[in-house]
C-alpha cells in the first residue's frame, strides 16, 4: 500500500467524529482549540505551546520526506500468559486497537529525513500506554538489526509506561533483547538517536531509551525510571511539579537537549548530517589505507 494511504488511514480513523469532538481544551492553559488547527500545528497548543501526546502516524508524517517503508507489520501480539483480570488481555488489545488505530504500541520502518536514510521507530502511548511487550521488543529489534545490516542510523521516538504487565517476564526480557541489538548497531559504527517524548518511564527508559548516543527530549515530557506515584508513596510526600520533566533532566545532565516539536525535524536532520560526515570520514580513511 502506498505510504500516504495507510499513514493517513491510521491518522484519520479516529478523526471522523461528530462536531463536538472537533474541539479540544488545552490541559495547560485552558484554551479551546479546533482539532484540525491543532493537527496542523503538530498537536501543539497555539496559545501556550503545550505539547499534546502525538499519535505515531502523525509523528511519522511530521518527520519523513516521502515514503515510510514499514517493516515487521506482521508481528502481532499473542497471549503467552493467558492473562485475564477484569478483561482478558486479547480483549484489552482489541479495545486499544479500536480506540487508537494502532495494532501495537510501535511503528517501525525506513524513511528519509532531510534526505538522510534512517531506520525510524515511533512508539504510541495511546496503545496500552506505550508499554513494551514481545511485539514492541521484536519490532524494534528487527528495526535495529535492519539498520545495522543496511548501514543506516537508527532513531527511536519513545513514549511508554514501561514493561507490559500482561506479558510478565517475556516483556522484561525485551529490555535485554533490544539492548543486545543496540550493541551490534553501535559496534557497526551507526548511531542510535533517541527522542524522549511524554511520558517515558520504567523498562523503556531503563533500556534503549537511555542507550542513545544522542538523547534529546521533547519540551516538558515526563521522563523517569519510577513513576511519580510510586515515588510519592515511597517517600510519603508530594514531588515538585518540575521533577522528572525534560527540563529537569537537562539541568541534571541526563540528556543532551530539550527541543520544541516544531524544531525536531531540523534538529534530526542536523544530527543525521553529523553522523553522515563521520561515516564519510571513515570511508575516506579506509580508501586511503
Amino acid at each position: 500500500m502506498p505510504m500516504a494511504d495507510w499513514l493517513r488511514g491510521g491518522r484519520n480513523r479516529d478523526k471522523v467524529r461528530d462536531d463536538a469532538a472537533q474541539w479540544v481544551k488545552c490541559p495547560s492553559c485552558g484554551e479551546v482549540l479546533y482539532r484540525p488547527d491543532l493537527s496542523a500545528n503538530l498537536d501543539v497548543c497555539a496559545r501556550c505551546s503545550h505539547h499534546f501526546r502525538m499519535r505515531a502516524h502523525d509523528r511519522i508524517l511530521s518527520l519523513v520526506d516521502g515514503d515510510f517503508e514499514e517493516i515487521a507489520r506482521g508481528v502481532l501480539p499473542a497471549d503467552p500468559l493467558a492473562w485475564t483480570d477484569k478483561k482478558s488481555y486479547p480483549q484489552k488489545l482489541a479495545a486499544d486497537a479500536e480506540k487508537s488505530g494502532m495494532d501495537e504500541a510501535v511503528l517501525c520502518g525506513f524513511a528519509r529525513i532531510g534526505g538522510f536514510e534512517v531506520a525510524l521507530g515511533v512508539m504510541d502511548f495511546h496503545f496500552r500506554g506505550g508499554t513494551m511487550g514481545s511485539v514492541v521488543g521484536e519490532r524494534l529489534t528487527r528495526l535495529i538489526e535492519a539498520a545495522t545490516e543496511r548501514g543506516v542510523p537508527c532513531t527511536i521516538f519513545t513514549a511508554s509506561g514501561g514493561a507490559r504487565m500482561e506479558e510478565g517476564m517475556l516483556a522484561l526480557m525485551q529490555m535485554a533483547k533490544t539492548t543486545a541489538a543496540v550493541l551490534r548497531l553501535k559496534a557497526s559504527g551507526q548511531p542510535l538517536i533517541i527522542v524522549l517524548t511524554d511520558p517515558t518511564t520504567g523498562g523503556v527508559s531503563a533500556s534503549f531509551a537511555f542507550q542513545g548516543d544522542v538523547i534529546i527530549a521533547e519540551r516538558n515530557a515526563m521522563i523517569g525510571f519510577a513513576g511519580r506515584r510510586v515515588i510519592e508513596q515511597t517517600i510519603r510526600q508530594r514531588l515538585p511539579d518540575r521533577f522528572q520533566t525534560a527540563e529537569f533532566l537537562l539541568e541534571r545532565g541526563h540528556i543532551d537537549a530539550v527541543v520544541e516539536r516544531a524544531n525536531l525535524k531540523p534538529t534530526l536532520e542536523r544530527l543525521l548530517g553529523y553522523a553522515r560526515a563521520g561515516l564519510q570520514r571513515r570511508k575516506r580513511a579506509e580508501l586511503s589505507a
Partner: protein, 325 residues
C-alpha cells in the same frame, strides 16, 4: 511480617521437643529412640504438608524469608573473596557487594545484590534496592572482570531498583540501561543465580548472562506483585492475585527459556539448610563455569545474542505462524 514465619512455628516447636528428648535420653541414659522417631516422622509429615506444594504468592514469601541465604552467604562459601568497593564517582552502595573470588579451580569476579538479614542491616542496605551508584559499581566490576579476563558470577536478590528522589536525580534509568549494555556485551563467560527475589529491571541489570540459574523457590518478575497490582488495579493489596498471574516461579521461567536451570531447595526452603543450599549452588556454578570455559569467545557471544534474540511470544501474521518461545 512474613506469613511463613507464623506457619513455621509448629515446626520449630517440634524441633525443640526432638532436641529436648535427645538431650534427656543422652543425659539419663534412657532409650527414647521410639519417641524421637515418632516426633521426627511427625515433623517430616508437617513439613511436607506445609511446603510440599507452594502457590506463587507463597513462593514470593519464601523468596523474601528473613532467614533465606543472601548473597553474602554464598560469597562466604567461596574459597577466597577480596571485596572491592565503590563506583569511583560518588558512593559505595551497600546494596551491591562484589569483588575477586576463587571457587574451586576458578578465579572469578562475583557481584551480589545484598538485602539485610535484620531490620538494622536492611536499613543500611536499603532492603537490597540499589541506587544508580550500586549499578555503576556493578558495571565497573563487570568491566574489571573483562579487564582481568575472568568469568563473572552474579547473585540476584532485590525487590527492584531504588525508587527514591535521589536515585531519579542520579539517573537510575541510565544506570540500568548502561548495565544492560555492559552485561550483554561482556567478553568473558557470565553466569547469574537468582537466589531470592528478582524484581524487574533492577534485577535484570545484573541478570543478562550466558547461564541463568534460579533456586527452586526464588521468584523473578516483570514487577513486584505489589507493584503490578498497583499499576494494573491501583491496589497494591491485591498482590497475591498479581503473583498468581505473573508466572514468576522458577518452573514457569524455565518453561519460557528465560532461566536455563532450576536448582532444587531442601523441603521447606533454602533457609532450613543454608549450608547445604550454598554448597549445592556453588557446586553447580563451578560445574557450569567448567562448561562455559570450553566455548570460544565468539561462540559464547553469538550464543548469548541468540538466546535473548528469541525471547518473546508473538503471532506472525505474514508467515502465519507463532513467534519464538
Amino acid at each position: 511480617m512474613n506469613p511463613l514465619l507464623e506457619r513455621e512455628k509448629g515446626l520449630l516447636e517440634l524441633e525443640r521437643r526432638i532436641e529436648d528428648l535427645r538431650a534427656a535420653s543422652e543425659g539419663k541414659g534412657v532409650d527414647m529412640s521410639a519417641e524421637i522417631a515418632s516426633l521426627e516422622s511427625k515433623y517430616r509429615q508437617l513439613l511436607a504438608e506445609l511446603f510440599g506444594s507452594l502457590t506463587p504468592w507463597e513462593k514470593v514469601h519464601m523468596a523474601r524469608h528473613p532467614r533465606r541465604p543472601t548473597a553474602l552467604d554464598y560469597i562466604a562459601g567461596f574459597d577466597a573473596f577480596d571485596e572491592l568497593h565503590g563506583d569511583r564517582m560518588f558512593r559505595d552502595d551497600p546494596a551491591i557487594v562484589g569483588g575477586f573470588a576463587r571457587l574451586g579451580g576458578h578465579a572469578i569476579v562475583a557481584i551480589g545484590q545484598q538485602r539485610g538479614r535484620d531490620m538494622k542491616e536492611n536499613l543500611a542496605r536499603n532492603f537490597g534496592m540499589s541506587t544508580p551508584e550500586g549499578y555503576r559499581k556493578g558495571e565497573r566490576l563487570a568491566e574489571l572482570a573483562e579487564r582481568f579476563n575472568l568469568p563473572l558470577v552474579t547473585f540476584v536478590d532485590t525487590k527492584g531498583a531504588d525508587p527514591g528522589i535521589l536515585s531519579e536525580e542520579h539517573a537510575q534509568s541510565e544506570a540500568i540501561a548502561r548495565s544492560l549494555e555492559v552485561f550483554a556485551g561482556l567478553k568473558v563467560p557470565t553466569l547469574c543465580v537468582v537466589i531470592g527475589e528478582g524484581g524487574s529491571g533492577g534485577a535484570l541489570a545484573l541478570a543478562i548472562a550466558d547461564r541463568v540459574l534460579m533456586l527452586e523457590h526464588s521468584v523473578y518478575s516483570v514487577a513486584s506483585p505489589e507493584g503490578c497490582a498497583a499499576i494494573l488495579w491501583g491496589d497494591a493489596s491485591k498482590a497475591d492475585e498479581a503473583a498468581a498471574h505473573l508466572k514468576l516461579t522458577a518452573g514457569d521461567l524455565r518453561g519460557f527459556g528465560i532461566v536455563d536451570e532450576v536448582i532444587p531447595e531442601p523441603l521447606g526452603g533454602a533457609h532450613r539448610d543454608p549450608a547445604a543450599t550454598v554448597t549445592r549452588v556453588l557446586d553447580r556454578v563451578g560445574a557450569l563455569l567448567d562448561v562455559l570455559e570450553t566455548y570460544s569467545l565468539r561462540d559464547l557471544l553469538d550464543a548469548r545474542y541468540e538466546k535473548y534474540r528469541h525471547l518473546g511470544s508473538w503471532r506472525d501474521a505474514v508467515a502465519g505462524s507463532d513467534g519464538a518461545t
